[in-house]
């Protein structure tokens, strides 16, 4: 298990290097930078712009800038945000935490509901429950997150039960610690539910078809033949084998989860990485864009790493490869 873990960790390094190089190259291709917007401001002299350009190293070729950036990134400094006039690292950590919270709870809710529903649908194949789950899956797979998020906003606005966007109330700082926590949770509920709803359908369908596949296997027939109770057959024999492929799905679904979070954050004004990326995008703040994309990738890569570990832990065949 340890060699497996180590191998996977070593595997992460070229990916992170490649991603940062790729985003940096793309940003270098971008027409104009933050200073071009600044230079159109008549109150700032061209000499000052030139000075800033030197200071931030924007006059150097992109690969020099990249090596410079990489050296700093390794010490935890992701560069300077032109738009926010502060270190990008500090900005990103707060946003990264928000995105993590949103994705984590959404995953928890989606899997917590999808797995039992999928099992139920598979065990009662072709029953009303199964058909209903099938219908929910189709609707859930087809409803765009944009629409779902807009509907949630509409709901919040019409009922006033939930705050309309944001991660905390304006008077957050004046609240007691306990009330602060509740306030944050209150803001978290709707975005989490929207994200979870869009994840749920795919997992449920996968769980159902996995379990149906294993229920067809010969060892299930032999378990039944030796007179085990149906519950024992399903939950002890079939289910354990049906879970494995689901762990692979877990790894794959993380990319979709982060893209989903991107949409939800931007519509529901949740201050996460996706929203920061868009803000940085419109401000032409290259450093911040590169940093957010690299951090989002890191989040995904770590998620995949955890999924791999889970898979290796549950299936010895994989760690012996």
């Amino acid at each position: 298990m340890w060699t497996f873990t180590l191998k996977r960790i070593i595997h992460l390094i070229p990916i992170l290097l490649g991603v940062s190089l790729l985003t940096f190259l793309l940003m270098a291709l971008t027409p104009g930078d933050y200073l071009t917007t600044l230079s159109t401001n008549p109150q700032i002299s061209p000499a000052k712009v030139q000075e800033l350009r030197m200071k931030f190293g924007l006059d150097k070729p992109w690969y020099v800038q990249y090596l410079f950036w990489l050296k700093n990134a390794l010490t935890g400094d992701l560069g300077y945000s032109f738009a926010y006039k502060t270190s990008a690292t500090g900005l990103i950590i707060g946003r990264l935490w928000n995105t993590f919270l949103l994705s984590f709870f959404a995953t928890l809710i989606a899997w917590g509901m999808a797995v039992p529903l999928g099992i139920w649908a598979a065990v009662k194949k072709n029953s009303i429950v199964d058909r209903l789950c099938g219908l929910i899956a189709f609707v859930g797979l087809s409803i765009p997150e944009v629409l779902l998020a807009l509907l949630a906003l509409m709901f919040a606005y019409a009922t006033r039960w939930f705050p309309v966007g944001g991660a905390q109330s304006p008077m957050y700082d004046t609240l007691e610690p306990m009330a602060q926590l509740l306030n944050r949770l209150h803001h978290l509920i709707l975005p989490t539910l929207v994200l979870a709803a869009s994840e749920l359908a795919g997992i449920m369908r996968q769980m159902r078809s996995n379990l149906l596949d294993t229920l067809r296997a010969e060892y299930v027939t032999s378990a039944r033949a030796k007179g085990l109770s149906e519950g024992w057959v399903v939950y002890k024999h079939a289910l354990r084998n049906a879970i494995n492929p689901l762990l692979t799905i877990f790894g794959y679904s993380l990319a979709g989860l982060l893209s989903g979070a991107f949409i939800v954050e931007n519509i529901m004004a949740w201050p996460g990485l996706g929203r920061l990326t868009m803000e940085a995008f419109f401000a032409k703040d290259t450093n911040l864009v590169v940093a957010s994309i690299v951090m989002a990738t890191t989040l995904l890569v770590i998620g995949n790493f955890i999924a791999d570990l889970l898979l290796a832990w549950s299936d010895p065949r994989i760690r012996l490869q």
């Binding site: 629409l147 906003l153 990319a255 893209s259 991107f262 519509i267 864009v289």
Partner: protein, 366 residues
């Protein structure tokens, strides 16, 4: 003498049908009711998109400055005729009340705003409308914040949404098949390099990669350039996934005897890949392509919604939904969500069709 005359029952020939794999596929597909529903919905949507100028009562840029946020006009039957009532604005608000006595019949094949059939033939004939469009407009789905007819804009927008998926899969799958096929067939360092590159692309969360690519281009572009840029970006992000699967299939297909036979007949590598190897991946490609069309539709919607895709005053489902972002608008004028419903129906239809195709291709469950 005919033996059948003596014993007609015993000698009736047993009907043995020899069906080719594609015939079997069509037979299985016809049994999928849900796929048929999806196909019918899509056929209707595509016809309406092709004839958008004709079916839409107005041009997508036409603004009615008297009627911002007009609610959908309810058509009624009066004296056996379909009529549209006259709406009066309630003083001091964007609310409109229908009149019970003042109405005009809906007419078919009326003259109205100019447009071009399929972008070529100029015309001003519209499927329906009224004789007096100034006082009796037909806004089936209401109007937006500029007083533009949402139904008409929806139809014009569907031209973008419905075509972007087809062009997108054509691009990404032809690219993915060629690259994946070559990687799997040749193996070696090129295979290694391609797989590492695709791994890299797939380890960046989709929308972040799309935004990074989008940022490398100027923010303002002409409509056509923007459309092409969106398709190219979305396909570029997507080709890796299909290339990896095709590569896996190519790895096993290249060991089959017919590939060996083709090679020993002296066919070139490219010919073996295109003529013999890739056709064996078609059943996967058809299903995967159908199921990935929604990705392109949603991709355009998200980009336009976030103001980095199709721009006003052009009509696209994403840019139309952008107007619905204001929660105050949403509760007062819920018809602004109509494009969202249109996206849902389209994506659902593609999922129905794709699912049916998958079951028809899959012989495991037969």
């Amino acid at each position: 003498m005919e033996p059948a005359a003596e014993n007609p029952v015993a000698l009736k020939p047993v009907e043995v049908q020899h069906l080719s794999p594609s015939q079997l596929f069509w037979r299985r597909l016809r049994r999928q009711r849900i796929a048929a529903i999806g196909a019918i919905i899509l056929a209707i949507l595509y016809v309406m998109a092709l004839l958008a100028g004709f079916v839409a009562p107005y041009h997508f840029e036409r603004m009615d400055r008297q009627r911002f946020f007009h609610s959908p006009t309810w058509l009624q039957f009066r004296g056996g005729k379909l009529v549209v009532p006259r709406y009066k604005q309630v003083e001091g608000s964007f609310k409109y009340a229908p009149s019970h006595s003042d109405y005009q019949p809906i007419r078919f094949f009326v003259r109205g705003d100019k447009y071009k059939w399929l972008g070529l033939v100029p015309s001003n004939l519209h499927l329906f409308g009224t004789a007096d469009p100034v006082n009796y407009p037909v806004y089936l789905l209401g109007t937006d914040q500029y007083g533009r007819d949402i139904f008409s804009r929806l139809l014009y927008g569907s031209q973008i949404s419905l075509s972007i998926g087809l062009i997108g899969i054509a691009l990404s799958f032809s690219f993915g098949m060629l690259i994946g096929g070559m990687a799997g067939y040749f193996g070696g360092w090129s295979d290694n390099a391609i797989m590492r590159l695709s791994e890299l692309l797939m380890s960046i969360p989709g929308l972040y990669l799309i935004m990074a690519l989008r940022m490398a281009f100027p923010p303002k572009l002409s409509s056509v350039q923007m459309y092409l840029l969106i398709v190219v970006i979305l396909s570029f992000v997507r080709w890796a996934a299909s290339a990896r699967v095709i590569r896996g299939m190519a790895l096993s297909i290249r060991e089959r005897q017919f590939v060996l036979a083709a090679r020993s007949l002296g066919q070139s590598n490219l010919r073996v890949i295109v003529k013999h190897l890739l056709p064996n991946t078609f059943s996967y490609v058809i299903v995967a392509a159908t199921l990935s069309i929604p990705y392109y539709i949603l991709g355009e919607v998200v980009l336009s919604f976030l103001n980095v895709g199709i721009q006003e005053p052009d009509a696209s489902w994403g840019i139309m939904l952008n107007a619905a972002q204001n929660p105050g608008y949403l509760t007062d004028y819920p018809w602004l969500l109509a494009p969202g419903v249109a996206i849902f129906i389209t994506v659902l239809a593609f999922n129905f069709l794709g699912d049916g195709l998958r079951d028809a291709v899959d012989t495991k469950n037969q």
